[in-house]
Symmetry: C2
Subunit: 360 residues, 2 copies
């Protein structure tokens, strides 16, 4: 096997190596039962135990109160863009959205199919380079919820703290869930595609306050009601078993690593290394405003697109992979989720300093 590369992809992204090794064994022969993990009936006691353990670990790591359900759904975060308003917003009701990037904008588009949408803040005209402070927008008293994206992968911005408003919060936490402690009790609903901080693609975790389950209209298709899945512990139909298993293994790894508070410390250290090298030279320019900087995705530019292309090419050649920025902002982006090792960040920082010296 060649040396393992450092994978800076924005997601699907790097996973703990130990989890890959566990999965490789269980796929062929799950716990020595003579049957592969992905051949297990989802109603077998073996798989039911996997799903239960995964849920319990998420509950424990996030400190989820007992009056919240944890659901394992399919369709990605993109399906939550419509499921949230389909379940929680009526045609004559209002909801408030913060437009901090492409994913927020897509959610706004879907919500407009169901109810009245108020966009209380937008940084679209400044290429989404910041997120708002609480004093920069208001939420109407009759708004059903305040929807926001905690971390914006493309622009490298992140809410440094959660909005403190008189409103039920709903958050797309796809790219920073479990990267720092969050008070779940402030939220009506949290969702996250797994493929950044939780596991492989194929499962979306939804955390929903129980009293919201009954708001849905009878005319909504069965599979699109949160209530359907909540009542059957995500086993109404065959769930994405392998992805749920992997999320459980990643949660187990996170617990061994010390949990969410411990990983936050590591995440802050990793991000600081990168922002330091960016700030120490004129050569690199961070995309996000300092107060909005993400600990998960560090987006930056070099003096010219040609130098950016050269940078990415040379980095790839030394095993620093996936650094190309999103086409909508260009430049470079280092995604350093929970499982991304500190050594990889150190190697990139050294590479950046050298590259700036040679080409600056």
């Amino acid at each position: 096997m060649p040396e393992r590369i450092y994978n800076f992809s924005p997601g699907p992204g790097t996973l703990p190596y130990s989890v890959l090794q566990e999965a490789a064994v269980d796929i062929v022969n799950f716990k020595d039962k003579g049957i592969g993990l992905i051949e297990l009936s989802h109603r077998s006691k073996e798989f039911m135990a996997v799903a239960e353990e995964t849920e319990n670990l998420i509950r424990e790591l996030m400190g989820i109160p007992a009056n919240y359900k944890v659901l394992f759904l399919q369709g990605g975060a993109s399906s939550q863009f419509f499921m949230v308003p389909m379940n929680l917003l009526k045609a004559d009701q209002k909801a408030t959205y913060l437009n901090t990037g492409v994913w927020a904008k897509k959610a706004i588009k879907e919500a407009k199919l169901f109810g009245q949408v108020e966009v209380a803040y937008s940084s679209e005209d400044i290429t989404f380079k910041r997120v708002p402070r609480d004093d920069e927008y208001t939420v109407a008293p009759d708004s059903q919820y305040l929807y926001f994206v905690t971390n914006n992968t493309i622009y490298g911005t992140q809410f440094p703290t959660m909005p403190n408003k008189e409103a039920m919060l709903i958050a797309d936490m796809s790219s920073d869930i479990l990267s720092r402690p969050v008070d779940v009790s402030k939220f009506g609903l949290i969702f996250a595609g797994a493929q950044k901080n939780m596991g492989p693609a194929g499962v979306t975790v939804v955390i929903i306050r129980e009293d919201l389950l009954d708001r849905v209209d009878d005319k909504v298709p069965t599979m699109l009601k949160y209530k359907t899945h909540a009542e059957k512990d995500s086993m109404f139909n065959t769930p994405p078993c392998f992805s749920i298993y992997c999320v459980g293994r990643v949660m187990n790894w996170l617990k061994q690593t010390g949990g969410v508070a411990a990983i936050e410390k590591l995440n802050r250290e990793k991000a600081a290394l990168l922002y330091e090298v960016i700030d120490s030279t004129e050569f690199y320019r961070g995309h996000a405003e300092k107060e909005s900087r993400s600990l998960m995705n560090v987006a930056f530019n070099l003096p010219t697109p040609e130098l950016e292309a050269q940078f990415i090419r040379e980095a790839t050649a030394v095993g620093l992979d996936g650094l190309k920025g999103h086409r909508s902002v260009g430049g470079c982006r280092a995604s350093i989720y929970n499982a991304f090792p500190r050594e990889g960040v150190e190697k990139l920082v050294t590479f950046m300093a050298d590259f700036a010296k040679k080409n600056g």
Copy 2:
């Protein structure tokens, strides 16, 4: 490792052992690239090649005409129950359904949310023990489509041939896709959850005639339009990468095995062995009428529920696993999908003959 058990589960079910072994290697280090399969960005050239190969193999094995799209969606077959009418049926339009089991019935329930549903045939009052011949029902000339379930896992029934009617066919082929040749050009849409004949749970394959993509109403959420996924080759959002990869490996195995016509011959032989032992004694009673018998799921009863429980217990003890029938019909069921080995069927047949002799 203990001896590999024979897994008669109705799905997720047994997969080719060689596929499990390939997946175990690629999960840790995909094609020796120093990165795990489930860590690959879905937009990497490596994963794009995986998705393309998977699609091409399905097209080749099924002989799918060029004017059909092959989509990799999420949400299981259960999500197709509403997506089909949501995309293809307007409130003032009519569609025809055949009620041959629980899965058909669930699809009928969802379709009623969108348009006028005519149930042209039902075997519900005889515990779904048969499927209709063409001369047993009619399809109204103004019906948009004829919807049916090709194989009914719970009752062990299967359409011996596809309906020959003046109507566009739409089929749930979840439990017998790729088990026998099918003329795709007779269909408007075919869908199948992967976890029986194609791979692990987590991906649903949809084969749709291109001209149907434009029928959908603008007010349908983006993710629920087939058109959205067709236009982006199933990469509108992050697809269930691992499940798609596995489907590709299973398709490769099927091609090596000789393709669909060859596997049909093997499937007929396997099923014949089981039906022969059932018919050769009064001890076992097949659930399905002979003309409707499934090659995929063989459902049968013993003289008493106590003997059935004993049968299942003793079978499990000798490595014949997953033989318990669905709670709605009771008894026993042997699911023998494409990847189920003939030796396992032979072992079960011997066990059944012995059990009948001892307890009959």
